[in-house]
């Protein structure tokens, strides 16, 4: 089973030099810690920052410099600030190369639900609907099952949809799965996890890749 950090580390393997990347709140944020050495990746924060750096020190903290999770951050050389309309122009026009998001549910057609649970207070979709409607390459980072042990990888979403047919890949604590026209394709297993474990934890259509490998976590 992968820890949250290991999920983030595995997703970081998808990065390529020169990528512009938008990371959602939670596990996705951790991906920034595992950018391969020598690779130049630029983080976009949809509240109006390109070239986001690490958290500031107590001395350099600036209330006018936050990320989309409302955390105080810093800038790296070559960064730029812009308004929210320009920020989503980047997103809608497909200039962001990779988007990493958390999810409540994903189905075997690549639909995603991550903004609303009926009966609970709805906080809002923020930028999630814009991101999933336009991103060229969306990877979902999440636990394979919910707290009640139910699968979050379904044939049909039970929760209100955020976007249709947009997820390309899911990395969970158990495995890596691609979304294909035939549904989920299990391509990599976490150490100590069996194919049967994934089958048991996956409610949607699932097939196992002929080239099934183990996730490299070192």
């Amino acid at each position: 089973m992968l820890t949250k950090e290991q999920i983030a580390k595995r997703i970081a393997q998808e990065l390529q030099d020169g990528y512009y990347v938008n990371l959602g709140i939670g596990i996705p944020t951790l991906v920034a810690n595992y950018v391969p050495a020598g690779m130049s990746v630029t983080l976009q924060s949809e509240n109006g920052l390109l070239g986001m750096g690490p958290f500031p020190t107590e001395q350099t903290i600036d209330a006018d410099l936050i990320n989309a999770g409302k955390q105080t951050v810093t800038t790296l050389p070559g960064s730029s600030f812009f308004d929210s309309a320009t920020s989503f122009a980047m997103i809608r026009s497909g200039r962001v190369d990779l988007t990493v998001l958390g999810a409540m549910e994903v189905n075997d057609k690549g639909d995603i639900a991550n903004w609303k649970i009926p009966g609970k207070m709805v906080k809002g979709m923020g930028g999630a609907m814009d991101l999933v409607a336009s991103a060229q390459n969306i990877i979902v980072a999440m636990q394979h099952t919910n707290r009640a042990g139910q699968s979050k990888l379904l044939s049909e979403l039970s929760l209100p949809v955020t976007g249709l047919g947009c997820v390309k890949k899911v990395v969970t604590n158990l495995c890596v799965m691609n979304i294909t026209p035939q549904g989920f394709e299990l391509v990599e297993l976490a150490q100590g996890v069996s194919v049967q474990d994934v089958k048991d934890a996956t409610q949607g259509r699932l097939r196992v890749s002929d080239n099934l490998t183990e996730i490299a976590t070192s």
Partner: protein, 231 residues
């Protein structure tokens, strides 16, 4: 033509019950603190507030919620606010949730005289309910409309007496589009200078969009998530 107001109270004095306001800011970053405080003092009520967020319990738009001055919020995310949740669940408060990019673009469209545009955000979701859906080049989009609002209230870093504005860092966020979109636009600034002091190349919001401007005071600039590291 004098755009300068003495203070926030004077700047918001034209705002009356049941008006629709646009308020700049993302979270508590770049919010018009002075004007919100003045609105709280003014006791106007029945307001519809278009703002990406709704503040926290005791700061930002949360202050107007505490006073029951807000009838409706139009936002993309209304998370961190217990009083908000209470009023929503009790039916005192109406909420319309809009994808953040659509919110930004609708503000921009308003300020650009564009009555409607198409965006893919929300297609296939409940956001599309009741809206025109249309295919362009094989992809599905929904039609979104510009807003109608009475006032836009924005916060800038520097401004001049002509109404030209410069924003700082991520405090820019929704402020420039909202400044464009107000029938009347009020700007509060941390530094108010004479015309010619700001480099015309570096102005983010040209003065034509700003009707009233004043020098704000006592900025608290509260931080929601104070994340730091030791080096």
């Amino acid at each position: 033509m004098n755009k300068i107001c003495k203070n926030a109270d004077q700047a918001v004095s034209g705002i009356t019950n049941d008006m629709t306001l646009m308020l700049g800011g993302f979270g508590l970053c770049g919010i018009p603190e002075n004007c919100i405080a003045a609105l709280a003092r003014s006791k106007v009520s029945g307001l519809t507030c278009i703002s990406n967020n709704a503040g926290v319990d005791d700061f930002g738009i949360g202050l107007l919620l505490q006073n029951r001055q807000v009838k409706k919020m139009i936002s993309s995310y209304v998370g961190e606010n217990a009083e908000f949740e209470r009023q929503l669940l009790s039916g005192e408060l109406e909420v319309e949730l809009i994808p953040q990019g659509t919110l930004a673009e609708r503000c921009r469209a308003t300020g650009a005289g564009i009555p409607a545009f198409y965006t893919p955000a929300g297609y296939g979701t409940e956001v599309a309910d009741g809206k025109e859906v249309r295919e362009f080049d094989g992809k599905m989009y929904i039609m979104e409309r510009a807003f109608q609002s009475n006032y836009a209230i924005v916060k800038a870093w520097k401004g001049d007496t002509e109404g030209n504005l410069v924003f700082k860092g991520t405090a820019r966020n929704f402020n420039p589009m909202m400044a464009m979109a107000g029938k009347i636009t009020i700007a509060e600034v941390e530094e108010l200078v004479a015309p010619g002091v700001l480099d015309p190349n570096e102005i983010h919001t040209p003065g034509i969009f700003v009707n009233k401007i004043f020098l704000g005071i006592d900025y608290e600039k509260r931080i929601e998530q104070r994340t730091t590291q030791e080096l």
